[in-house]
Amino acid sequence: ASDVGEVHEDFKTLKEEVQRETREVGRLSQVGQGSLLSSLCNLLGKKKELQDLEFELEGALDKGHEVTLEALPKDVLLSKESMGAILYFLGALTVLSEAQQKLLAKSMEKKILPVQLKLVESTLEQNFLQEKEGVFPLRPELLSSLREEELTLTEALVGLSGLEVQRSSPQYMWDPDTLPRLCALYAGLSLLQLLAGS
C-alpha cells in the first residue's frame, strides 16, 4: 500500500497495487479462496460486520492469534502477506455502501463482474488525472454484452460510486470527487472477480 504522505501518480500505480494484492490472495489454496468467497458473500451488505472482521484480522496480524469466521467451511492457513492482502481488500469493500455491496453480490451471481471491472478500469484509465468534471463518450462495447437487467444493475453499482452512465447517448459523467470511491470499487471488483473465477 502507498506510504502516507506519498502522492500517488496515476492509474498505473493503482493497478499495480491492486494486482500485487490480488496476487497474494491468488496464492491461497482453492479451499482458502473458496472459504474467503463464501465468507465475503455472507458479509456483503453488512458493513458493520465487514468492519468488525477487518478489525479482528488486524488484531490477528498484531498478535498472531487464531481468528474465527463463521462462514468458513474449513480451517485455512494464511501467510502474513495473504492476511495483509485480505485486509487491503476489506478496507476497499468497507468504503462501499451497503447497497453497493449487495449489488456486487448480485453481480457476482449474474456473472457480470468482468464487464463491470472493465468499465471501471477503462473509466479510471482515461480520467484518473482529470481534475475537471465533464461528459465523456463511453465505448459502446463496454456494455454491449449486458442485458437490460444487468445493465441496470451495473448502472446502479457504478452510479452509487458517483459514475453516472447514460446508455442512451452513450456517455458518462466524470466527477473527480468520485475518484476514491471508484478506486475502492475497482479493488473490490478485482478481488471478487478473482475469487468468483477460481
Binding site: 492469534h65 485455512v76 492457513l77
Partner: protein, 247 residues
C-alpha cells in the same frame, strides 16, 4: 457513504488535492482527532481511497511526564474561501450525484460551512520536546510497544467555526424500484431523508506526523516520515508469520 463523509472528503480534496490531509470518517470520533491526539494507522491502508486512522483516546500531552503545557499550543487561521467551499459542497452533498442514475431527488441545505485550521505551533512542540520526557510506564505505551504499533500525532486540523446543519433528501425511482432490487433491500437505502448537525469546533480533516520513540522515554516528531520508520525501536515486536482462520 454518509453525508458527513461526503462533506469531509470534498473538503479535503478542495483544500489539499492529492495531499496528505485526511478526511474524518465519523462525526462521533471528532474529539479524538484534536491537535496532539495520538492515533493509529490501519496496517493496510492506501491513499487511493484514504489512509485510515483509528482513534486511541490518548493525547501526546497525557503520555508525557507531568510538566508545564504550552499555554497556547496551537496556531489558528481562518480560511477566506467560504464561497468557493460552499459552491463545491452544493454539488458534493447532492444525493442525486450518486443516486440520480434513474431517480429524482431533492436537496435542501439551510446553512453554510465555515472552517478554520488549527495547527501545533513549532515553538510549542519544541518546548514540549525539551521539557517533558515520555511517561515510560504508561500502560498505553507499554501495550503499543509490545504490539509494535506505529503511533501518529495529529498536528493540524480543519474544524468548523460555527455549528452547521446539512440536509439532503433523496427519492429514488426508476432502476431502484425494479422488482429484482426489492429482495436486496435497496429501496429503503436510497429512499431517505437525512440531516446532520455538525457542531462548532468539529474536526473535519486532519494531518498527522509520526511519533518516534527511542529508549524508554525519549521522543521526537520528525517532519518527514515513511512506512519504513518504526515508532518503537526495532526488534521489540515478536515475529509471527502464520495465522489460522477457524470455523
Amino acid at each position: 457513504m454518509t453525508m458527513f463523509e461526503n462533506v469531509t472528503r470534498a473538503l479535503a480534496r478542495q483544500l489539499n488535492p492529492h495531499g496528505d490531509l485526511t478526511p474524518l470518517d465519523s462525526l462521533i470520533d471528532f474529539k479524538s482527532f484534536r491537535p496532539f491526539c495520538v492515533v493509529l494507522r490501519k496496517r493496510k491502508s492506501t491513499l487511493f481511497w484514504g489512509a485510515r486512522y483509528l482513534r486511541t483516546d490518548y493525547s501526546l500531552l497525557g503520555l508525557l511526564e507531568p510538566g508545564t503545557s504550552p499555554t497556547d499550543p496551537t496556531d489558528a487561521g481562518s480560511f477566506g474561501f467560504k464561497n468557493m467551499l460552499d459552491a463545491h459542497l452544493e454539488g458534493e452533498v447532492d444525493v442525486p450525484r450518486t443516486v440520480k442514475v434513474k431517480g429524482t431527488a431533492g436537496l435542501s441545505r439551510n446553512s453554510t460551512l465555515e472552517v478554520q485550521t488549527l495547527s501545533v505551533a513549532p515553538t510549542a512542540l519544541e518546548s514540549l520536546h525539551k521539557e517533558r520526557k515520555l511517561a515510560a510506564d504508561h500502560p498505553f505505551l507499554k501495550e503499543m510497544r509490545e504490539r509494535g504499533e506505529n503511533l501518529y500525532v495529529v498536528m493540524e486540523v480543519v474544524e468548523t467555526v460555527q455549528e452547521v446543519t446539512l440536509e439532503r433528501a433523496g427519492k429514488a425511482e426508476g432502476c431502484f424500484s425494479l422488482p429484482f432490487f426489492a429482495p436486496l433491500g435497496l429501496q429503503g437505502s436510497v429512499n431517505h431523508k437525512e440531516a446532520v448537525t455538525i457542531p462548532k469546533g468539529c474536526v473535519l480533516a486532519f494531518r498527522v506526523r509520526q511519533l518516534m520513540i527511542s529508549g524508554q522515554d525519549e521522543w521526537d516528531i520528525p517532519h518527514l516520515y515513511n512506512d519504513s520508520m518504526q515508532t518503537f525501536p526495532a526488534g521489540e515486536k515478536p515475529e509471527e508469520e502464520k495465522f489460522t482462520l477457524i470455523q
